[in-house]
Symmetry: C2
Subunit: 341 residues, 2 copies
């Protein structure tokens, strides 16, 4: 399907463009009344993820409502552990919970991996195909996966955590098993993302949401090699790596075979650009800025695009918070869309 608006793709490929493209992480979600209305009728979050027609519907909602420059397929990074054999529950207001966690070699041996695991996720590929068809080329569709360290963190910890100290304990106490698990996750993720691209995704984003709790050495040992494998394995579409809070790793990320690096709001555009010479930057407004007065939102959005200067995809530094005023999201998007380099 030929794209009518390919600004995101051109920008990601490093082309000179007229303005930064704009989209928001978590744009398909609770900020939209039409999402909340649909979600209220369902049994839970996973029903939405696993029903291709519904996932496609909420994926397209922000394109209709906010006229952002990209759609991102509605899904969850934790479909990968589930496809490998470790099911999760999404507990309302608490987040993900794995009734069983990975503790030892036997647990890892039992896990499916690679294409065998990835093909369990047909509902995602179906959702992508439906979305691409229904989008009719209006904007590109982003596919995504968690980075292997972040996925391991949930599989070992069993839930979200402030410190993920169980998962980090696993790295320190069982480094060989950790590498075995990371490789299985990597193999599965590569197969999964290739099928996402085959189904129609126009760009792939890898989320290393918990990179920020690793030391630089641990990142280099347990995170970076697997991100590199995945980024190098994706053909034909641009790749974004967002290692949240891993400011210390930008020199490493500069070496990854990817096009775009996600930047969080702790990092100034100048710092990011001073290290990421060959990458396009994506981000990085503080999501809480969108709680401010509309004129402050506009001013902060303009400051951000000016500070990044060029080769920039406008976004927040993290997913938009569910209670963000929709009008401020609109101000953010419209300010970027009205800007010209």
């Amino acid at each position: 399907m030929k794209l009518k608006n390919d600004l995101l793709i051109r920008t990601a490929m490093g082309e000179d463009v007229e303005r930064p493209p704009v989209w928001l992480m978590r744009q398909a979600g609770r900020i939209l009344p039409q999402y909340r209305a649909l979600r209220g009728k369902l049994s839970g979050f996973k029903e939405l993820v696993e029903t291709p027609n519904l996932a496609a519907e909420v994926t397209i909602q922000p394109v209709d409502e906010l006229e952002v420059d990209a759609a991102i397929i509605f899904s969850d990074i934790l479909v990968i552990p589930e496809a490998m054999g470790l099911t999760y529950e999404m507990v309302e207001k608490k987040g993900p919970l794995f009734p069983k966690t990975i503790q030892n070699k036997g647990d890892i041996t039992k896990l499916a991996s690679g294409i065998d695991a990835a093909t369990n996720l047909q509902y995602v590929f179906d959702a992508i195909e439906i979305t691409v068809k229904e989008l009719e080329g209006r904007v590109p569709l982003i596919g995504f996966a968690g980075a292997p360290w972040t996925i391991l963190a949930y599989m070992v910890e069993g839930s979200g955590s402030k410190t993920f100290s169980k998962a980090k304990k696993f790295l320190y106490q069982q480094p060989i098993l950790a590498h075995q698990l990371l490789q299985k996750i990597t193999d599965t993720t590569i197969a999964y993302l290739k099928l996402k691209v085959k189904s129609g995704a126009n760009l792939i984003q890898i989320f290393d949401s918990w990179a920020g709790i690793l030391s630089p050495l641990q990142f280099r040992t347990f995170a970076l090699p697997y991100i590199k494998q995945i980024a190098s394995a994706i053909d034909n579409v641009p790749v974004t790596v967002f290692a949240k809070n891993a400011w210390y790793a930008y020199a490493d990320l500069e070496q990854v075979d990817c096009n775009v690096v996600g930047i969080d709001w702790n990092t100034s555009p100048f710092y990011a650009k001073s290290i990421l010479h060959t990458k396009v930057c994506q981000g990085n407004l503080d999501p809480c800025q969108l709680y401010g007065q509309p004129e402050d939102v506009a001013q902060a959005a303009l400051k951000m695009v000016r500070d990044f200067g060029s080769n920039h995809i406008a976004n927040l530094g993290h997913g938009v918070y569910p209670d963000t005023p929709l009008d401020n999201v609109r101000v953010f998007v419209d300010t970027i869309k009205g800007y010209r380099y």
Copy 2:
């Protein structure tokens, strides 16, 4: 009281020393069996904080057990909001909870501040006096307080949080009120820390535990000016500022009138030293490293002291986790104590 071991103080003052001094954040706590035994007999955490004899006892336990180079008074950063009129509860396994939070101007006006608030904390000053007497100059005693932004974060949010989005919303929506509250906290903290020094504390540490969720601009606006006020107001003893995860602010912290800057484990010693030219660095081993094999702990501790090179206070990059094997804590401490520059 003349100190028999003043290595921490000499190091903090920038003197050339024979080896780095070593202590651990949260060393007085659940890692010690004698702490757990005492704590089990009490009604709760606050009883321990508020009973000077008991607070002194647990403050000295790690000096006896681990022979660290410093004691840190057993207390909590949240005694400050309480002294200002906002009581908190410490909910087992959940953390602090404020039944009332700060929402508007009226809430701020009602708060006590400065010396009027600080004198409500006589139990802390008593605990310091008892500790100093019982320590008999074996090691210096560290006094501490939370930085104003971190204290505001709890007073507005009402509890711990991954995002502190309510507290940050307050900064974006009510910046003038935020500054009023920050100034009241600052005035109270200065009076409080001066009384701590008067009671016998030999060094003061300021914890900005939630600095890492601010943007660089927010840190400069809402955190830094108040840290500067406090650091400049403390006379006669060295001052440490630990702004956790605020790697982006080291150039700002270099300008603060303090002696020592705390470093977390995300930050390499080389990066820290490349910016903090005039400061002593404190930190920064990953607390999870202490879950590893004893020989790995020793190796990591040695790598840390070598990487910092000099003008360094050995510590973790965060408080020691409660389930850390005590023998590994001992390996950490003993490795540093056996090292010579």
